[in-house]
Protein backbone atom coordinates (compact mmCIF):
# COMPACT_ATOMS: atom_id res chain seq x y z
CA UNK A 1 0.00 0.00 0.00
CA UNK A 2 2.77 2.36 0.96
CA UNK A 3 4.72 1.77 -2.25
CA UNK A 4 1.68 2.02 -4.50
CA UNK A 5 0.34 5.22 -2.96
CA UNK A 6 3.77 6.85 -2.98
CA UNK A 7 4.31 5.83 -6.60
CA UNK A 8 0.96 7.30 -7.64
CA UNK A 9 1.78 10.50 -5.76
CA UNK A 10 5.09 10.85 -7.57
CA UNK A 11 3.41 10.16 -10.92
CA UNK A 12 0.76 12.79 -10.27
CA UNK A 13 3.39 15.31 -9.24
CA UNK A 14 5.35 14.60 -12.46
CA UNK A 15 2.23 14.75 -14.62
CA UNK A 16 1.22 18.17 -13.33
CA UNK A 17 4.67 19.71 -13.38
CA UNK A 18 5.57 18.30 -16.82
CA UNK A 19 2.30 19.53 -18.32
CA UNK A 20 2.62 23.04 -16.92
CA UNK A 21 6.37 23.30 -17.56
CA UNK A 22 5.75 22.16 -21.13
CA UNK A 23 3.41 25.10 -21.56
CA UNK A 24 5.75 27.62 -19.98
CA UNK A 25 8.74 26.32 -21.96
CA UNK A 26 6.78 25.96 -25.23
CA UNK A 27 7.94 29.26 -26.70
CA UNK A 28 11.65 30.08 -26.74
CA UNK A 29 12.37 32.94 -24.39
CA UNK A 30 12.79 35.67 -27.07
CA UNK A 31 9.44 34.72 -28.62
CA UNK A 32 7.78 34.78 -25.20
CA UNK A 33 9.30 38.20 -24.50
CA UNK A 34 8.08 39.51 -27.84
CA UNK A 35 4.58 38.16 -27.13
CA UNK A 36 4.56 39.81 -23.74
CA UNK A 37 5.41 43.10 -25.41
CA UNK A 38 2.53 42.70 -27.85
CA UNK A 39 0.01 45.55 -27.30
CA UNK A 40 -2.90 43.09 -27.18
CA UNK A 41 -1.29 41.05 -24.38
CA UNK A 42 -0.27 44.21 -22.56
CA UNK A 43 -3.82 45.48 -22.79
CA UNK A 44 -5.08 42.15 -21.45
CA UNK A 45 -2.63 42.26 -18.53
CA UNK A 46 -3.66 45.77 -17.52
CA UNK A 47 -7.38 45.08 -17.97
CA UNK A 48 -7.15 41.87 -15.93
CA UNK A 49 -5.28 43.55 -13.11
CA UNK A 50 -7.62 46.55 -12.97
CA UNK A 51 -10.86 44.57 -13.14
CA UNK A 52 -9.42 42.00 -10.75
CA UNK A 53 -8.58 44.64 -8.17
CA UNK A 54 -11.94 46.38 -8.60
CA UNK A 55 -13.94 43.16 -8.19
CA UNK A 56 -11.81 42.05 -5.24
CA UNK A 57 -12.38 45.34 -3.43
CA UNK A 58 -16.13 44.99 -3.98
CA UNK A 59 -16.04 41.37 -2.82
CA UNK A 60 -14.23 42.36 0.39
CA UNK A 61 -16.60 45.22 1.11
CA UNK A 62 -19.66 43.01 0.67
CA UNK A 63 -18.36 39.73 2.08
CA UNK A 64 -17.19 41.10 5.44
CA UNK A 65 -20.61 42.30 6.68
CA UNK A 66 -22.42 39.33 5.10
CA UNK A 67 -20.05 36.76 6.61
CA UNK A 68 -20.25 38.49 9.98
CA UNK A 69 -24.05 38.48 9.90
CA UNK A 70 -24.12 34.79 8.99
CA UNK A 71 -21.84 33.92 11.90
CA UNK A 72 -23.05 36.20 14.67
CA UNK A 73 -26.72 36.90 14.13
CA UNK A 74 -29.69 34.63 13.83
CA UNK A 75 -32.44 35.74 11.51
CA UNK A 76 -35.35 34.04 9.76
CA UNK A 77 -34.27 32.27 6.60
CA UNK A 78 -30.62 32.10 7.64
CA UNK A 79 -30.15 28.56 6.34
CA UNK A 80 -31.77 29.47 3.05
CA UNK A 81 -29.61 32.57 2.77
CA UNK A 82 -26.47 30.54 3.47
CA UNK A 83 -27.43 28.04 0.80
CA UNK A 84 -28.18 30.65 -1.86
CA UNK A 85 -25.02 32.58 -1.02
CA UNK A 86 -22.99 29.43 -1.50
CA UNK A 87 -24.73 28.30 -4.68
CA UNK A 88 -22.50 30.18 -7.16
CA UNK A 89 -19.60 28.09 -5.81
CA UNK A 90 -20.90 24.96 -7.48
CA UNK A 91 -22.64 26.71 -10.35
CA UNK A 92 -20.76 26.49 -13.68
CA UNK A 93 -19.54 30.05 -14.44
CA UNK A 94 -21.16 29.86 -17.86
CA UNK A 95 -24.54 29.45 -16.19
CA UNK A 96 -23.82 32.36 -13.87
CA UNK A 97 -22.82 34.36 -16.93
CA UNK A 98 -25.98 33.68 -18.89
CA UNK A 99 -28.12 34.43 -15.82
CA UNK A 100 -26.35 37.77 -15.48
CA UNK A 101 -26.76 38.44 -19.19
CA UNK A 102 -30.50 37.85 -18.99
CA UNK A 103 -30.79 39.91 -15.79
CA UNK A 104 -29.02 42.95 -17.23
CA UNK A 105 -30.30 42.52 -20.79
CA UNK A 106 -33.97 41.75 -20.45
CA UNK A 107 -35.26 42.97 -17.09
CA UNK A 108 -36.54 46.52 -16.51
CA UNK A 109 -34.01 47.17 -13.72
CA UNK A 110 -31.18 46.03 -15.97
CA UNK A 111 -32.32 48.44 -18.61
CA UNK A 112 -32.75 51.19 -16.02
CA UNK A 113 -29.14 50.70 -14.99
CA UNK A 114 -28.01 50.92 -18.57
CA UNK A 115 -29.87 54.15 -19.20
CA UNK A 116 -28.37 55.51 -15.97
CA UNK A 117 -24.94 55.07 -17.52
CA UNK A 118 -24.01 51.71 -16.04
CA UNK A 119 -23.87 49.64 -19.18
CA UNK A 120 -22.85 46.17 -18.16
CA UNK A 121 -23.35 43.98 -21.22
CA UNK A 122 -20.26 43.66 -23.41
CA UNK A 123 -18.39 46.35 -21.45
CA UNK A 124 -15.39 46.28 -19.07
CA UNK A 125 -17.86 47.01 -16.26
CA UNK A 126 -19.47 43.70 -17.15
CA UNK A 127 -16.14 41.96 -16.45
CA UNK A 128 -16.14 43.33 -12.93
CA UNK A 129 -19.78 42.37 -12.37
CA UNK A 130 -19.18 38.82 -13.63
CA UNK A 131 -16.08 38.41 -11.44
CA UNK A 132 -17.87 39.71 -8.35
CA UNK A 133 -20.83 37.42 -8.88
CA UNK A 134 -18.69 34.33 -9.25
CA UNK A 135 -16.12 35.12 -6.55
CA UNK A 136 -18.21 36.65 -3.78
CA UNK A 137 -19.26 33.25 -2.35
CA UNK A 138 -15.59 32.28 -1.93
CA UNK A 139 -14.85 35.45 -0.04
CA UNK A 140 -17.99 35.00 2.11
CA UNK A 141 -17.02 31.42 2.92
CA UNK A 142 -13.47 32.26 3.87
CA UNK A 143 -14.53 35.22 6.01
CA UNK A 144 -17.29 33.18 7.55
CA UNK A 145 -14.88 30.52 8.74
CA UNK A 146 -12.48 33.24 9.90
CA UNK A 147 -15.18 34.96 11.99
CA UNK A 148 -16.62 31.68 13.23
CA UNK A 149 -13.26 30.77 14.74
CA UNK A 150 -13.31 33.93 16.89
CA UNK A 151 -15.07 33.56 20.23
CA UNK A 152 -17.74 36.29 20.57
CA UNK A 153 -16.48 36.81 24.13
CA UNK A 154 -13.57 38.79 22.70
CA UNK A 155 -16.14 41.33 21.56
CA UNK A 156 -17.96 41.15 24.87
CA UNK A 157 -14.76 42.00 26.73
CA UNK A 158 -13.98 44.80 24.29
CA UNK A 159 -17.41 46.28 24.94
CA UNK A 160 -16.94 46.21 28.71
CA UNK A 161 -13.61 47.96 28.09
CA UNK A 162 -15.33 50.85 26.38
CA UNK A 163 -15.86 49.83 22.75
CA UNK A 164 -19.01 50.41 20.75
CA UNK A 165 -20.26 47.44 18.78
CA UNK A 166 -18.50 48.61 15.63
CA UNK A 167 -15.43 49.61 17.64
CA UNK A 168 -15.17 46.06 18.97
CA UNK A 169 -15.50 44.74 15.43
CA UNK A 170 -12.83 46.96 13.90
CA UNK A 171 -10.38 46.84 16.80
CA UNK A 172 -10.71 43.21 17.81
CA UNK A 173 -12.64 40.91 15.47
CA UNK A 174 -11.34 42.17 12.14
CA UNK A 175 -7.67 42.27 13.21
CA UNK A 176 -8.09 38.76 14.60
CA UNK A 177 -9.52 37.66 11.23
CA UNK A 178 -6.74 39.28 9.25
CA UNK A 179 -5.18 36.03 8.06
CA UNK A 180 -8.49 34.89 6.65
CA UNK A 181 -9.03 38.30 5.10
CA UNK A 182 -5.61 38.30 3.42
CA UNK A 183 -5.96 34.74 2.20
CA UNK A 184 -9.45 35.50 0.93
CA UNK A 185 -8.23 38.60 -0.86
CA UNK A 186 -5.43 36.74 -2.62
CA UNK A 187 -7.69 33.88 -3.64
CA UNK A 188 -10.45 36.19 -4.83
CA UNK A 189 -8.05 38.29 -6.82
CA UNK A 190 -6.32 35.34 -8.49
CA UNK A 191 -9.67 33.74 -9.31
CA UNK A 192 -10.86 37.05 -10.74
CA UNK A 193 -7.77 37.22 -12.95
CA UNK A 194 -8.58 33.78 -14.36
CA UNK A 195 -12.37 34.05 -14.62
CA UNK A 196 -13.51 33.06 -18.11
CA UNK A 197 -16.99 31.61 -18.48
CA UNK A 198 -19.03 34.27 -16.75
CA UNK A 199 -16.92 37.07 -18.25
CA UNK A 200 -17.32 35.61 -21.74
CA UNK A 201 -21.10 35.52 -21.40
CA UNK A 202 -21.67 38.92 -19.87
CA UNK A 203 -18.81 41.04 -21.22
CA UNK A 204 -18.26 39.20 -24.46
CA UNK A 205 -14.87 38.66 -26.07
CA UNK A 206 -14.11 41.88 -27.89
CA UNK A 207 -10.45 42.30 -28.85
CA UNK A 208 -8.82 45.24 -27.05
CA UNK A 209 -12.06 46.10 -25.23
CA UNK A 210 -13.18 43.28 -22.95
CA UNK A 211 -10.09 41.18 -23.51
CA UNK A 212 -8.79 39.92 -20.17
CA UNK A 213 -5.98 37.36 -20.04
CA UNK A 214 -8.20 34.27 -20.26
CA UNK A 215 -10.19 35.91 -23.07
CA UNK A 216 -6.93 36.76 -24.86
CA UNK A 217 -5.88 33.14 -24.51
CA UNK A 218 -9.19 32.00 -25.97
CA UNK A 219 -9.26 34.53 -28.84
CA UNK A 220 -5.66 33.84 -29.89
CA UNK A 221 -5.92 30.09 -29.77
CA UNK A 222 -9.10 30.32 -31.89
CA UNK A 223 -7.21 32.31 -34.54
CA UNK A 224 -4.19 30.00 -34.36
CA UNK A 225 -1.84 32.51 -32.75
CA UNK A 226 -0.32 30.03 -30.36
CA UNK A 227 2.56 32.24 -29.16
CA UNK A 228 0.22 34.94 -27.84
CA UNK A 229 -2.04 32.33 -26.26
CA UNK A 230 0.93 30.75 -24.52
CA UNK A 231 2.10 34.15 -23.28
CA UNK A 232 -1.32 34.77 -21.70
CA UNK A 233 -1.35 31.27 -20.23
CA UNK A 234 2.15 31.68 -18.80
CA UNK A 235 1.15 34.84 -16.96
CA UNK A 236 -1.93 33.11 -15.59
CA UNK A 237 0.19 30.22 -14.32
CA UNK A 238 2.59 32.61 -12.61
CA UNK A 239 -0.32 34.41 -10.95
CA UNK A 240 -1.79 31.12 -9.70
CA UNK A 241 1.56 30.01 -8.35
CA UNK A 242 2.16 33.33 -6.58
CA UNK A 243 -1.34 33.26 -5.08
CA UNK A 244 -0.94 29.71 -3.83
CA UNK A 245 2.44 30.50 -2.24
CA UNK A 246 0.94 33.60 -0.67
CA UNK A 247 -1.93 31.67 0.90
CA UNK A 248 0.33 28.89 2.12
CA UNK A 249 2.61 31.46 3.67
CA UNK A 250 -0.17 33.51 5.25
CA UNK A 251 -2.05 30.78 6.96
CA UNK A 252 -1.90 27.04 6.79
CA UNK A 253 -5.18 26.74 8.62
CA UNK A 254 -7.31 28.56 6.11
CA UNK A 255 -8.97 26.01 3.88
CA UNK A 256 -9.45 27.98 0.76
CA UNK A 257 -10.65 25.58 -1.88
Amino acid sequence: MRKVSLAITVLLFLAISVTLLGLVLYSPLPVLAASMANPEIQFAIVLSIVTGIASTVICIAVAIPVAYALVRYSFPGKRMATLVLTLPLTLPPLVAGIALLLFFGTTPWGKALESAGFAVIFTPLGIVVAQVFVNLPYMVRIMRSAFASINPRFEHVAKTLGCTESGAFFQVTLPMARHGLLAGTVVTWSKAMGEFGAVLMLAGATTMRTETLPIALYLNISTGDVDLAVAAATILILISLAALCCVEYLDRDVNVF
Partner: protein
Protein backbone atom coordinates in the same frame (compact mmCIF):
# COMPACT_ATOMS: atom_id res chain seq x y z
CA UNK B 1 -24.67 48.89 45.61
CA UNK B 2 -25.74 46.57 42.82
CA UNK B 3 -29.38 45.54 42.81
CA UNK B 4 -30.86 43.00 40.47
CA UNK B 5 -34.64 42.99 40.41
CA UNK B 6 -36.54 39.96 39.07
CA UNK B 7 -34.22 39.59 36.11
CA UNK B 8 -35.17 37.13 33.37
CA UNK B 9 -33.34 36.30 30.18
CA UNK B 10 -33.32 33.41 27.74
CA UNK B 11 -30.34 32.76 25.52
CA UNK B 12 -30.44 29.56 23.52
CA UNK B 13 -30.42 26.70 26.01
CA UNK B 14 -29.33 28.93 28.88
CA UNK B 15 -31.79 30.98 30.81
CA UNK B 16 -32.12 33.00 33.95
CA UNK B 17 -35.53 33.28 35.56
CA UNK B 18 -36.69 35.94 37.92
CA UNK B 19 -33.46 36.50 39.81
CA UNK B 20 -33.23 39.15 42.49
CA UNK B 21 -29.97 39.90 44.28
CA UNK B 22 -28.53 42.81 46.21
CA UNK B 23 -24.79 43.12 46.45
CA UNK B 24 -23.43 45.91 48.68
CA UNK B 25 -20.31 47.92 47.85
CA UNK B 26 -17.00 46.20 48.38
CA UNK B 27 -18.50 42.77 48.82
CA UNK B 28 -16.91 39.60 47.46
CA UNK B 29 -19.91 37.74 46.13
CA UNK B 30 -19.56 34.24 44.71
CA UNK B 31 -22.09 32.44 42.58
CA UNK B 32 -21.79 28.65 42.48
CA UNK B 33 -23.80 26.14 40.57
CA UNK B 34 -23.48 23.33 38.07
CA UNK B 35 -22.78 23.81 34.37
CA UNK B 36 -25.80 25.16 32.54
CA UNK B 37 -27.27 26.86 35.60
CA UNK B 38 -27.13 30.21 33.79
CA UNK B 39 -24.26 31.71 35.80
CA UNK B 40 -22.38 33.14 32.83
CA UNK B 41 -25.55 34.49 31.25
CA UNK B 42 -26.34 36.28 34.50
CA UNK B 43 -22.86 37.81 34.64
CA UNK B 44 -22.99 38.88 30.98
CA UNK B 45 -26.38 40.45 31.53
CA UNK B 46 -25.03 42.44 34.47
CA UNK B 47 -22.18 43.57 32.20
CA UNK B 48 -24.72 44.66 29.59
CA UNK B 49 -23.87 42.15 26.87
CA UNK B 50 -27.42 40.79 26.64
CA UNK B 51 -30.55 42.85 27.13
CA UNK B 52 -32.78 41.13 29.70
CA UNK B 53 -36.31 40.08 28.79
CA UNK B 54 -37.65 41.56 31.98
CA UNK B 55 -36.44 42.96 35.28
CA UNK B 56 -34.06 45.74 36.14
CA UNK B 57 -30.43 46.21 37.12
CA UNK B 58 -29.63 49.13 39.39
CA UNK B 59 -26.22 50.48 40.30
CA UNK B 60 -26.30 52.88 43.24
CA UNK B 61 -30.03 53.26 42.72
CA UNK B 62 -29.62 54.25 39.08
CA UNK B 63 -31.31 52.05 36.49
CA UNK B 64 -28.58 50.79 34.16
CA UNK B 65 -30.65 48.08 32.44
CA UNK B 66 -30.62 49.89 29.10
CA UNK B 67 -27.08 51.26 29.29
CA UNK B 68 -24.41 50.11 26.85
CA UNK B 69 -21.66 47.98 28.44
CA UNK B 70 -19.13 50.79 27.90
CA UNK B 71 -21.19 53.19 30.00
CA UNK B 72 -21.56 50.88 33.00
CA UNK B 73 -18.04 50.83 34.37
CA UNK B 74 -18.31 47.12 35.05
CA UNK B 75 -15.25 44.99 34.28
CA UNK B 76 -15.36 41.39 33.15
CA UNK B 77 -12.77 38.61 33.15
CA UNK B 78 -13.62 35.35 31.42
CA UNK B 79 -12.48 31.83 32.17
CA UNK B 80 -10.28 31.78 29.05
CA UNK B 81 -9.12 35.35 29.69
CA UNK B 82 -9.91 36.49 26.13
CA UNK B 83 -6.69 38.45 25.78
CA UNK B 84 -6.53 40.07 22.37
CA UNK B 85 -3.92 37.93 20.57
CA UNK B 86 -2.93 40.64 18.08
CA UNK B 87 -1.93 43.08 20.83
CA UNK B 88 0.99 42.97 23.25
CA UNK B 89 0.41 42.65 26.98
CA UNK B 90 0.89 46.40 27.41
CA UNK B 91 -1.53 47.14 24.56
CA UNK B 92 -4.04 44.72 26.04
CA UNK B 93 -3.91 46.46 29.42
CA UNK B 94 -4.11 49.90 27.80
CA UNK B 95 -7.02 48.87 25.55
CA UNK B 96 -9.73 50.38 27.74
CA UNK B 97 -7.73 53.53 28.41
CA UNK B 98 -7.32 54.02 24.66
CA UNK B 99 -11.08 53.79 24.19
CA UNK B 100 -11.44 56.58 26.74
CA UNK B 101 -8.83 58.63 24.87
CA UNK B 102 -6.59 58.88 27.90
CA UNK B 103 -3.32 60.69 27.13
CA UNK B 104 -0.57 58.37 25.89
CA UNK B 105 1.70 59.30 28.81
CA UNK B 106 -0.98 58.55 31.38
CA UNK B 107 -1.77 55.25 29.63
CA UNK B 108 1.85 54.19 29.94
CA UNK B 109 1.97 55.16 33.61
CA UNK B 110 -1.23 53.26 34.38
CA UNK B 111 0.01 50.17 32.51
CA UNK B 112 3.29 50.27 34.45
CA UNK B 113 1.45 50.63 37.73
CA UNK B 114 -0.87 47.68 36.98
CA UNK B 115 2.14 45.66 35.85
CA UNK B 116 3.82 46.23 39.20
CA UNK B 117 0.67 45.55 41.21
CA UNK B 118 0.16 42.18 39.53
CA UNK B 119 3.81 41.27 39.06
CA UNK B 120 3.76 41.21 35.25
CA UNK B 121 6.05 44.17 34.53
CA UNK B 122 8.53 41.90 32.74
CA UNK B 123 5.86 40.65 30.33
CA UNK B 124 4.59 43.95 28.97
CA UNK B 125 6.19 43.62 25.51
CA UNK B 126 5.20 40.01 24.94
CA UNK B 127 2.20 38.63 23.09
CA UNK B 128 -0.50 36.70 25.00
CA UNK B 129 0.18 33.35 23.27
CA UNK B 130 3.64 33.25 24.85
CA UNK B 131 2.27 33.50 28.41
CA UNK B 132 1.40 30.77 30.90
CA UNK B 133 -2.15 30.42 32.21
CA UNK B 134 -1.35 32.25 35.45
CA UNK B 135 0.33 35.09 33.58
CA UNK B 136 -2.59 35.43 31.17
CA UNK B 137 -4.90 35.53 34.16
CA UNK B 138 -3.00 38.45 35.65
CA UNK B 139 -2.99 40.33 32.35
CA UNK B 140 -6.74 39.84 32.02
CA UNK B 141 -7.22 41.12 35.57
CA UNK B 142 -4.93 44.08 34.90
CA UNK B 143 -6.83 44.93 31.72
CA UNK B 144 -10.10 45.06 33.64
CA UNK B 145 -8.73 46.67 36.82
CA UNK B 146 -6.89 49.50 35.07
CA UNK B 147 -10.25 51.16 34.37
CA UNK B 148 -11.02 51.12 38.11
CA UNK B 149 -14.41 49.47 37.59
CA UNK B 150 -17.16 49.82 40.17
CA UNK B 151 -17.79 46.10 39.88
CA UNK B 152 -15.54 43.33 38.65
CA UNK B 153 -17.22 40.24 37.22
CA UNK B 154 -15.11 37.08 37.19
CA UNK B 155 -16.31 34.09 35.19
CA UNK B 156 -14.54 31.06 36.65
CA UNK B 157 -11.26 32.92 36.41
CA UNK B 158 -9.24 30.27 38.23
CA UNK B 159 -10.58 27.06 36.72
CA UNK B 160 -7.79 26.73 34.17
CA UNK B 161 -5.01 27.16 36.74
CA UNK B 162 -3.22 24.63 38.90
CA UNK B 163 -4.15 24.68 42.57
CA UNK B 164 -1.04 26.54 43.78
CA UNK B 165 -1.37 29.34 41.26
CA UNK B 166 -5.06 29.47 42.04
CA UNK B 167 -4.39 29.93 45.72
CA UNK B 168 -1.82 32.66 45.13
CA UNK B 169 -4.04 34.59 42.75
CA UNK B 170 -6.99 34.21 45.11
CA UNK B 171 -4.95 35.86 47.83
CA UNK B 172 -3.87 38.63 45.48
CA UNK B 173 -7.45 39.19 44.37
CA UNK B 174 -8.44 39.53 47.99
CA UNK B 175 -5.64 42.08 48.55
CA UNK B 176 -6.56 44.07 45.46
CA UNK B 177 -10.14 44.20 46.53
CA UNK B 178 -9.22 45.44 49.97
CA UNK B 179 -6.93 48.08 48.43
CA UNK B 180 -9.38 49.32 45.81
CA UNK B 181 -12.74 48.59 47.41
CA UNK B 182 -14.01 47.07 44.18
CA UNK B 183 -17.09 44.92 44.43
CA UNK B 184 -16.37 41.48 43.03
CA UNK B 185 -18.93 39.04 41.68
CA UNK B 186 -17.38 35.70 40.82
CA UNK B 187 -18.52 32.40 39.42
CA UNK B 188 -16.75 29.29 40.61
CA UNK B 189 -16.79 25.55 40.94
CA UNK B 190 -14.12 25.43 43.60
CA UNK B 191 -15.41 25.18 47.14
CA UNK B 192 -12.09 26.29 48.66
CA UNK B 193 -12.54 29.66 46.98
CA UNK B 194 -15.97 29.97 48.48
CA UNK B 195 -14.62 29.58 52.00
CA UNK B 196 -11.52 31.73 51.68
CA UNK B 197 -12.81 34.55 49.49
CA UNK B 198 -16.53 35.02 49.66
CA UNK B 199 -18.39 37.38 51.94
CA UNK B 200 -21.59 35.86 50.66
CA UNK B 201 -22.49 33.18 48.16
CA UNK B 202 -25.44 32.37 45.95
CA UNK B 203 -26.26 28.88 44.72
CA UNK B 204 -27.79 28.70 41.27
CA UNK B 205 -29.75 25.85 39.74
CA UNK B 206 -31.59 25.82 36.41
CA UNK B 207 -31.53 29.57 36.01
CA UNK B 208 -32.75 30.41 39.50
CA UNK B 209 -31.01 31.34 42.72
CA UNK B 210 -31.67 28.59 45.26
CA UNK B 211 -30.01 30.16 48.29
CA UNK B 212 -28.06 33.28 49.22
CA UNK B 213 -26.08 33.78 52.40
CA UNK B 214 -22.75 33.75 54.16
CA UNK B 215 -20.72 30.66 53.26
CA UNK B 216 -20.77 29.17 56.76
CA UNK B 217 -24.50 29.72 57.06
CA UNK B 218 -25.20 28.10 53.67
CA UNK B 219 -22.93 25.15 54.44
CA UNK B 220 -24.53 24.58 57.83
CA UNK B 221 -28.08 25.17 56.71
CA UNK B 222 -28.51 24.37 53.02
CA UNK B 223 -31.98 25.45 51.91
CA UNK B 224 -32.65 22.56 49.55
CA UNK B 225 -31.47 19.03 48.90
CA UNK B 226 -29.87 20.29 45.71
CA UNK B 227 -27.85 22.85 47.62
CA UNK B 228 -26.73 20.22 50.13
CA UNK B 229 -25.73 17.81 47.39
CA UNK B 230 -24.01 20.48 45.34
CA UNK B 231 -22.03 21.70 48.35
CA UNK B 232 -20.93 18.09 48.91
CA UNK B 233 -22.16 18.01 52.48
CA UNK B 234 -20.99 14.63 53.75
CA UNK B 235 -24.25 13.17 54.92
CA UNK B 236 -27.55 13.65 53.19
CA UNK B 237 -30.18 11.40 54.71
CA UNK B 238 -33.72 11.04 53.41
CA UNK B 239 -36.40 10.07 55.91
CA UNK B 240 -39.69 10.89 57.57
CA UNK B 241 -39.91 13.28 60.45
CA UNK B 242 -42.44 13.46 63.23
CA UNK B 243 -42.68 15.72 66.23
CA UNK B 244 -41.45 14.39 69.58
CA UNK B 245 -41.26 16.93 72.36
CA UNK B 246 -39.08 19.82 71.19
CA UNK B 247 -37.24 17.64 68.70
CA UNK B 248 -37.92 16.06 65.35
CA UNK B 249 -37.86 12.26 65.36
CA UNK B 250 -36.50 11.11 62.01
CA UNK B 251 -36.89 7.59 60.71
CA UNK B 252 -34.51 6.50 57.98
CA UNK B 253 -33.43 3.02 56.89
CA UNK B 254 -35.10 1.38 59.86
CA UNK B 255 -33.12 3.59 62.22
CA UNK B 256 -34.29 6.53 64.33
CA UNK B 257 -32.42 9.72 65.21
CA UNK B 258 -33.35 13.13 66.54
CA UNK B 259 -32.82 16.62 65.15
CA UNK B 260 -33.41 20.09 66.55
CA UNK B 261 -36.10 21.07 64.09
CA UNK B 262 -39.84 21.49 63.85
CA UNK B 263 -40.17 20.29 60.27
CA UNK B 264 -42.29 17.18 59.84
CA UNK B 265 -43.20 14.89 56.99
CA UNK B 266 -40.88 13.76 54.24
CA UNK B 267 -37.49 15.38 54.93
CA UNK B 268 -33.83 15.44 54.04
CA UNK B 269 -31.39 15.69 56.94
CA UNK B 270 -27.84 16.95 56.46
CA UNK B 271 -25.00 16.24 58.83
CA UNK B 272 -21.36 17.30 58.47
CA UNK B 273 -18.95 14.36 58.93
CA UNK B 274 -16.92 16.54 61.34
CA UNK B 275 -19.86 16.48 63.76
CA UNK B 276 -19.94 12.68 64.05
CA UNK B 277 -18.00 11.06 66.88
CA UNK B 278 -17.03 7.42 66.53
CA UNK B 279 -16.50 5.13 69.50
CA UNK B 280 -16.13 1.40 70.13
CA UNK B 281 -18.48 1.43 73.15
CA UNK B 282 -21.75 3.36 73.48
CA UNK B 283 -20.70 6.94 74.19
CA UNK B 284 -22.51 8.53 77.10
CA UNK B 285 -22.81 12.28 76.61
CA UNK B 286 -25.26 15.10 76.20
CA UNK B 287 -25.47 14.21 72.49
CA UNK B 288 -28.97 12.95 71.74
CA UNK B 289 -28.06 10.42 69.05
CA UNK B 290 -25.90 7.34 69.46
CA UNK B 291 -26.40 4.80 66.69
CA UNK B 292 -24.77 1.36 66.45
CA UNK B 293 -23.34 0.44 63.07
CA UNK B 294 -20.64 -1.36 61.11
CA UNK B 295 -17.68 0.10 59.23
CA UNK B 296 -18.08 -0.41 55.49
CA UNK B 297 -15.18 1.61 54.15
CA UNK B 298 -12.06 3.44 55.40
CA UNK B 299 -10.74 6.08 53.00
CA UNK B 300 -7.58 8.01 53.86
CA UNK B 301 -7.81 11.64 52.65
CA UNK B 302 -4.64 13.58 53.35
CA UNK B 303 -4.12 13.89 57.09
CA UNK B 304 -7.58 12.57 57.97
CA UNK B 305 -9.52 9.39 57.36
CA UNK B 306 -13.05 9.21 56.07
CA UNK B 307 -14.99 6.41 57.74
CA UNK B 308 -18.14 5.23 56.06
CA UNK B 309 -20.56 3.39 58.33
CA UNK B 310 -23.74 1.48 57.85
CA UNK B 311 -26.13 2.47 60.63
CA UNK B 312 -29.23 1.51 58.65
CA UNK B 313 -28.28 4.20 56.17
CA UNK B 314 -24.77 5.19 55.03
CA UNK B 315 -23.14 7.66 57.41
CA UNK B 316 -19.77 9.35 56.90
CA UNK B 317 -17.49 10.47 59.74
CA UNK B 318 -14.02 11.97 59.81
CA UNK B 319 -11.20 10.88 62.14
CA UNK B 320 -7.55 11.81 62.33
CA UNK B 321 -5.22 9.07 61.12
CA UNK B 322 -4.00 8.72 64.67
CA UNK B 323 -7.34 8.04 66.31
CA UNK B 324 -8.22 5.68 63.49
CA UNK B 325 -5.20 3.49 64.22
CA UNK B 326 -5.65 3.92 68.01
CA UNK B 327 -9.15 2.50 67.77
CA UNK B 328 -7.91 -0.22 65.42
CA UNK B 329 -10.89 0.29 63.15
CA UNK B 330 -11.33 -2.35 60.48
CA UNK B 331 -13.88 -3.08 57.84
CA UNK B 332 -17.01 -4.70 59.23
CA UNK B 333 -16.01 -3.62 62.76
CA UNK B 334 -18.81 -2.75 65.20
CA UNK B 335 -18.83 0.92 66.28
CA UNK B 336 -21.13 3.64 67.63
CA UNK B 337 -21.77 6.94 65.92
CA UNK B 338 -22.67 9.85 68.18
CA UNK B 339 -23.93 13.27 67.09
CA UNK B 340 -25.93 16.09 68.57
CA UNK B 341 -29.49 16.77 67.57
CA UNK B 342 -28.46 20.36 66.93
CA UNK B 343 -25.85 19.23 64.39
CA UNK B 344 -28.54 17.78 62.17
CA UNK B 345 -30.06 20.24 59.72
CA UNK B 346 -33.49 19.35 58.36
CA UNK B 347 -34.84 20.39 54.97
CA UNK B 348 -38.35 19.60 53.82
CA UNK B 349 -38.05 17.24 50.85
CA UNK B 350 -39.90 18.98 48.05
CA UNK B 351 -42.08 16.53 46.17
CA UNK B 352 -40.84 17.65 42.75
CA UNK B 353 -37.18 17.12 43.54
CA UNK B 354 -35.72 14.27 41.49
CA UNK B 355 -34.36 11.40 43.56
CA UNK B 356 -31.26 10.87 41.49
CA UNK B 357 -28.87 10.08 44.31
CA UNK B 358 -30.23 6.74 45.43
Amino acid sequence: MLSIESLSIRLGEFSVQDISLTIPDGEYFIIIGPTGAGKTVLLETIAGIHPPESGRILLDGKDITALEPRDRNIGMVYQDYMLFPHLTVAENIAFGLRQRRVLKREQEDAVREMGQLLGISHLLDRYPVTLSGGEQQRVALARAMVLKPRILLLDEPMSALDSRTRERISRELSDIRRATGTTIVQITHHFEEVHTLADRIAIMQDGTVVQVGEPSEVFLHPATTFAAEFLCIGNIIRGTSSRQGRLARIEAGGQVFYAASDITGSVVATLHPEDVIISLEPFVSSARNCLPGTVTEIVPVGSVVRIILDVGFPLTAILTRESCSDMMLTNAGRVYATFKASAVHVIPAAAQEPEDRD
